[in-house]
């Protein structure tokens, strides 16, 4: 049982339930778990899930259809980890609930009890075409046909499935900015496959590992020293989960905003025109809490003349950086398996954004972008949603 590996962590949770719905001025927290916020029972928050994990470890409880569904409702946003402080490996830091949930999902998959049907179908599409949308694999590099990118080089850009198939403007914008700043950008083209993020999240570790081996091998063949990602999920997967499969990567990993912030610093990215816009920035969980990249996107935005960046708040407390509310994207799991839950969480986040009075929401994860755009359509909100790379390219006057 994969969960056994986490037994020490599971048993270290003493059920204080700070991870549930805490509102605390002293801790600067306005509610913690977005799933509990909708579902209102303890089995939907980390503390309750750890009690379930203890019962599973002791054999007092077996996976049932209901429990399987329950385990797949966690969005993996790591809000709970942020407020927790009982990690036995890292005193004062929180339990990594996301990894414990993944272990439970792996056990479910290994027992043939999951993932839930919609995810199974999605994972089959990944297996068939190398992407979750079921689009023909050969269409992956269509976005780059006119860009003349080499397949090998020091800097390699990995757009991932979302940008390649669903949001090519994001991939083109990222590439064009980096090229305009003088970087010689390489791209795997047809050799690129899904990073495996959604498979890891689904508990399909064995399937995910195939993609890890494939992509890591392709990166090595391409002589990459710096890998650049515009998708927070791909970045998190390469940085934090690939080494667990293939060992230390022979290249560094960067989210595009980290590179952009550096290029702004050395004035290789300059903004010449005023951009009169009121924007708010949504921290994706996989870039923010999972990887502590908070300031770089803000730094880039703040360098755009005329732009007003307004941070999101909840009542009197911040709802940004480590305190940002999840968009409901849930590592690609919850929107597919439980779309209504995902939408409700996204609507709550949308409320935060609307309250800023911003006309545009900018983010750095295509899943957040999709989920929040859907929420806005449902609510009929006239707000623009834009990937940071796309916004920056436009602000630089680049034709995408």
């Amino acid at each position: 049982m994969r969960l056994e590996k986490w037994a020490l962590h599971v048993w270290r949770c003493f059920g204080c339930l700070i991870c549930r719905d805490t509102i605390s001025y002293e801790r600067g927290v306005y509610k913690v778990c977005p799933v509990y916020d909708q579902m209102k029972f303890d089995h939907y928050c980390a503390g309750g899930r750890m009690k379930i994990a203890k019962a599973l470890l002791e054999g007092s409880l077996k996976y049932s259809k209901g429990l399987v569904d329950n385990i797949y409702t966690c969005v993996g946003c790591r809000s709970c980890t942020e407020v927790c402080a009982v990690n036995p490996d890292n005193p004062g830091k929180g339990l990594d609930i996301n990894l414990i949930i993944r272990a439970m999902r792996e056990d479910i998959v290994n027992a043939g009890l999951g993932p839930p049907e919609p995810l199974k179908k999605r994972d089959l599409r990944v297996q068939k075409e190398g992407n979750p949308f079921g689009k023909p694999a050969h269409e992956r590099s269509t976005w780059a046909e006119d860009l003349k990118l080499s397949e090998k080089g020091e800097f390699l850009y990995f757009p991932g499935c979302y940008a390649s198939f669903e949001n090519p403007v994001m991939a083109r914008a990222t590439t064009k900015i980096l090229k305009a700043a003088g970087l010689d950008i390489a791209y795997l083209g047809a050799k690129e496959r899904c990073c495996g993020h959604i498979l890891f999240e689904d508990g399909q570790r064995f399937l995910a590992e195939e993609y890890v081996y494939h992509n890591a091998g392709a990166f090595t063949d391409a002589n990459v020293t710096k890998a650049i990602f515009s998708c927070a999920g791909c970045y998190d997967t390469f940085k934090n989960h690939y080494p667990g499969v293939v060992g230390k990567l022979p290249f560094e990993t960067f989210h595009s905003t980290q590179i952009l912030a550096e290029l702004v610093d050395v004035e290789k990215i300059k903004f010449h025109k005023n951009v009169e816009a009121k924007v708010t920035y949504h921290d994706p969980c996989h870039l923010g809490r999972h990887n502590a990249v908070y300031e770089e996107p803000r730094k880039v935005l703040q360098n755009i003349p005329g732009l007003k960046l307004i941070e999101m708040k909840r009542d009197d407390l911040p709802s940004n950086r480590s305190k940002a509310w999840c968009c409901g994207g849930g590592g690609g799991v919850v929107p597919v398996a439980f779309p209504n839950l995902s939408l409700k969480i996204a609507l709550t986040r949308l409320d935060d954004a609307i309250a800023t009075g911003a006309d545009t929401l900018i983010t750095t994860c295509p899943m957040c972008l999709t989920n929040l755009s859907i929420a806005a359509k449902v609510r009929g909100v006239n707000m623009k949603f834009c990937d940071l790379n796309v916004f920056v390219a436009k602000a630089m006057g680049i034709t995408i």
Binding site: F14, L17, E26, K51, L61
Partner: protein, 484 residues
């Protein structure tokens, strides 16, 4: 583990309860039941293998006092036990074996009235301390007692029913000290109000403005009762102006008795907002590594008020007491680090060493040195059980200026089954030590009750039984607690 009343009966109960509160507020799946049962800090007593409790049959989240009243009517009719839980992080749960578990938390957490003129706030039972103080802050107010240590999920009524100790207890007492009135659903489903709220016209002058009126202190009947006499649904609580000046200080002592005495004298001045004393060399240098390694006690306190000079004068006074008692001032930083209003942050780091195992004791401060000695000896004999060698601590929190709560604890590795089994045995031994030395409990949960009740004078237990029988003839509400 599941103690079902039988399929047909169960489905009937599920349907009836769904009819009262709505199906979205009822769960009965086995995994959901596990998720709702725990004993917070004393996790060792909890499921899955506790010999002290089992699972409820159904978990219900009522939204109103009337719904609770209807559920109790049903419970009396069907003779179904009803157990009550607040935030669910606490130590004072009930011994459950089937029945209904009512969770009174975010489903009933409205702040009903902030009476700025009369300095009270009235809230629904499930409001958490942190939420209440977050809202009060907007009005320049706070509660005196600010909630139990370290647990942001704790609800007002849960703390009152289990008589919590906690943040700012040295000046303001326990959770129940500042209650002025309650709304309570009695086990028979009647709804009553206590204190000045007993008078139907009194709320016109200020909601629940006073506790000691209209006869016996009926409010007191429910404080620390663990819900055996009734289920608290609304609380009126005293509030104070939010202090504008705060100062912190920490001290160390080479002799534990000096540290205890100094802390007691400082508490008696009524100046410190909150205080803690770490007893014994081991726990003291753990919490204040910057102090010399041969200290026997470390103390931290906060003075708060509304005037810089007055607060500074009070701080000088408590500094003088510490020095007179052989203490050395260590500076504000260690005290700020284990600051109190951040939710008792001195607790979670020790939880990273292992899971807390130990009794919570109310005693006069004069008994602290002896008990420290006794428990230290006990811990050393059982050191092999600790998650990390030497993972034990002794903490004293002055209470109500005069007595204190004392917490000897060892940190164990619960992930090992044999450790849990032995720990359960040790827990009971530690309870016996507590009682043998005259220590008392501020809450009495399933783990404590057999030891606590055993040492009661028999007439007291008869008295409680008579009250329980009068108020709860079918013994449906939190049955089994206090061996009733």
């Amino acid at each position: 583990m599941l103690n079902r009343v039988g399929h047909e009966m169960h489905h009937k109960l599920y349907d009836v309860l769904s009819g009262v509160v709505g199906p979205e507020n009822v769960v009965d799946e086995d995994y959901a039941l596990f998720a709702h049962v725990a004993f917070g800090g004393c996790e060792i007593l909890s499921l899955p293998e506790s010999d002290l409790t089992g699972l409820p049959e159904i978990v219900v989240k009522p939204q109103t006092t009337m719904q609770i009243s209807r559920i109790l009517k049903i419970a009396n009719r069907t003779r179904t036990p009803v157990h009550v839980r607040g935030g669910g992080e606490g130590v004072g749960s009930t011994p459950m074996h089937g029945g209904i578990l009512l969770c009174i938390e975010d489903n009933m957490n409205e702040i009903i009235n902030i009476d700025k003129e009369n300095y009270t706030v009235t809230v629904q039972a499930g409001c958490t301390w942190t939420k209440l103080n977050y809202e009060l802050r907007k009005h320049g107010l706070r509660t005196g007692f600010m909630g139990p240590h370290g647990c942001c999920a704790a609800t007002i009524a849960g703390s009152i029913a289990s008589n919590s100790i906690g943040i700012c207890g040295s000046k303001y007492g326990l959770a129940g000290s500042a209650v002025t009135a309650l709304e309570v659903v009695l086990p028979t489903s009647d709804i009553i109000r206590t204190g000045s709220r007993t008078n139907i016209n009194a709320d016109k002058l200020g909601v629940g403005y006073y506790r000691y009126c209209n006869g016996p202190d009926s409010t007191g009947l429910f404080i620390g009762s663990q819900g055996i006499f009734g289920l608290i649904t609304e609380v009126t609580y005293e509030v104070i102006n939010l202090p504008t000046v705060r100062m912190f200080e920490s001290y160390y002592y080479k002799d534990l008795a000096d540290g205890v005495k100094a802390t007691q004298k400082q508490a008696l001045t009524g100046f410190p907002e909150d205080m803690m004393l770490s007893c014994g060399r081991h726990s003291s240098i753990n919490i204040a590594p910057e102090a010399p390694q041969d200290i026997e006690a470390f103390a931290a306190l906060e003075i708060a008020g509304y005037d810089e000079d007055a607060v500074a004068w009070q701080k000088d006074e408590v500094d003088r007491i510490a020095k007179e008692q052989g203490g050395t001032i260590l500076g504000p930083e260690p005290a700020e680090r284990c600051t109190f209003d951040a939710g008792g942050t001195q607790w979670p780091p020790s939880y990273a060493l292992g899971t807390y195992l130990g009794p919570d004791i109310i005693i006069p401060p004069s008994a602290v040195p002896k008990l420290t000695e006794v428990y230290e000896d006990f811990f050393r004999k059982n050191e092999d059980l600790m998650a990390v060698k030497g993972a034990y601590s002794f903490t004293e929190f002055p209470l109500d200026r005069r007595v204190c709560s004392f917490h000897p604890a060892m940190m164990i590795d619960q992930s090992k089954r044999d450790v849990r089994k032995r720990a359960m045995k040790l827990f009971h031994e530690m309870q016996e030590i507590k009682n043998a030395y005259g220590g008392t409990s501020f809450y009495v949960g399933p783990g404590e009750m057999q030891h606590t009740v055993k040492w009661w004078i028999p007439e007291y237990h008869h008295f409680l039984r008579a009250l329980k029988q009068a108020l709860d003839p079918n013994n449906v509400l939190n049955p089994g607690l206090f061996m009733l």
